[in-house]
Symmetry: C2
Subunit: 321 residues, 2 copies
Amino acid sequence: MTTIVDKVIAGEVRTVARLIRDIDDGIPEVRETLKALYPHTGKAHVVGITGAPGVGKSTLVDQMINRLRKKGKTVGVLAVDPTSPFTGGAILGDRIRMQRHSLDDGVFIRSLATRGHFGGLTQSTRSAIDVLDAMGKDYVIVETVGVGQDEVDVVKSAETTVILVIPGMGDDIQAIKAGILEIGDIFVINKADREGAEKTHSDLTLMINMDLKKYEGGKWKPPILKSEAVFDKGVEELLEEIEKHRRYMAEFEKGGLTTLRSEKARAELAELVKNRLLEEVFNRLIDSGDFDKAVESVAAGEVDPYTACDDLLLSRIDAIK
Amino acid sequence: MTTIVDKVIAGEVRTVARLIRDIDDGIPEVRETLKALYPHTGKAHVVGITGAPGVGKSTLVDQMINRLRKKGKTVGVLAVDPTSPFTGGAILGDRIRMQRHSLDDGVFIRSLATRGHFGGLTQSTRSAIDVLDAMGKDYVIVETVGVGQDEVDVVKSAETTVILVIPGMGDDIQAIKAGILEIGDIFVINKADREGAEKTHSDLTLMINMDLKKYEGGKWKPPILKSEAVFDKGVEELLEEIEKHRRYMAEFEKGGLTTLRSEKARAELAELVKNRLLEEVFNRLIDSGDFDKAVESVAAGEVDPYTACDDLLLSRIDAIK
């Protein structure tokens, strides 16, 4: 145990890779390692990058890595891909272009995809962030497809959240923007040479301004940047804004203006308790054979699922104080 | 109670609307109504329509409603929008164009968006489908943004799943296709007049054929259609394929070739048990004050979250048989 922890802290790539794979596979034994690593976390700046498919997230992350490395910063990247629940592994796809960094010791890139029966992807991501943080990476970048609730939850693990959009994505873009507006610290319009970039910019500005009271009292107001990641345009400006947001967050926390730390602890603990509870109780329901019996009764039309659920749970739950 | 059930079965719009709002709000009292409605379900054909933002889902659904109505069929539509977890209500946005059906008694359209603390969107959707089914709608169409795991789960409530794509959506489209391929019964390439439609068609064909052994023994092989929903092109063909799939499913079930009904019961019961368990146990943890104490300890750095989770749960879980 101690050896694994020591090796992670020493930044040993193979140990870290194995540990993250074990986290992704939901191996229960990793809990003890994570407990021991926890005191060594909290130094990395965790940046979430999210956006719909095709907006250029991987290209942007690739350019960010390149520039951060030139500044002497080390970078960990977690590509979270919940779009493939069946294949059991993240599609590497366009992430191949990040491979130019694969021989650089200062960069560690891994994909997370697996989700247990109860969807522990948010927890896996948090744990993997902790590992890259304990490993000593200056930045941990979490890249995820930003549409569903899962992605929103995953992104909440980040300290700075970057929302990537592109011009002219059709009607639904409004819905996405509205859904993610609240979690965006920085907005980036990528492929900004495309038609409609100005309209997207003014739409975003309007939506941010509509929410003006959120920014009272010197609170962070999300900037809207433009980029053409494929030509490395706008990437430096993004890194500057990320650094600004980092400094702002540090001030904000120090000044006691909020209970950020407590909010983070609450979210993390709730997620842990949720996954553990489902895992333990479902195992008992399944091992006892009661769950299968209930399924058969429902399938045979002998009982409705709502009553079957009551029968399975109520007496058991009453045992809990 | 009986009155509500009778009114739903009689198709009374205001009662149904209120019940669905209560489901969406997670009001516990709806459980008894749902129990009583359950024996009246199972008649509607439930069709899921999913695809990335901007592919034209709402336009297609609007045209489908129009054509189904001309055939004398009644239609219920649930627009599931988990992209907006904060605003507490689905963004109606482009669904406004469906409003031309709002004066038609044979059409009932509602949005679902709210998710409880533990994300019961899948459960809400299932319950709302049951209500529209009990109300007597011939078709229930569930429209959802198809990217994350949530959407995949929601779509699993459907008997026939239609995956909508458009040509040339960028690199990530491959990842999406791979993720949703397994759940698609029918694929539609919308905006098929756009450049790249042939490439998308051959990509999809290849991916379906790679999975050939799935289609052995006369199993359903997903057709790939082309449409231009905005011009009502390809919509009739889609309805025909949906009808074919419905007949195929009926044969399939009758022939005892599968345990479809049992699989559906298992998924539904698992979802119910999961949500109920989290709701009940979390309420106890919070009411006892133990959860808040644990959060403070973690925030103060006195304990790591993994140990805090053990402390909260282990003794309580042991009480469950």
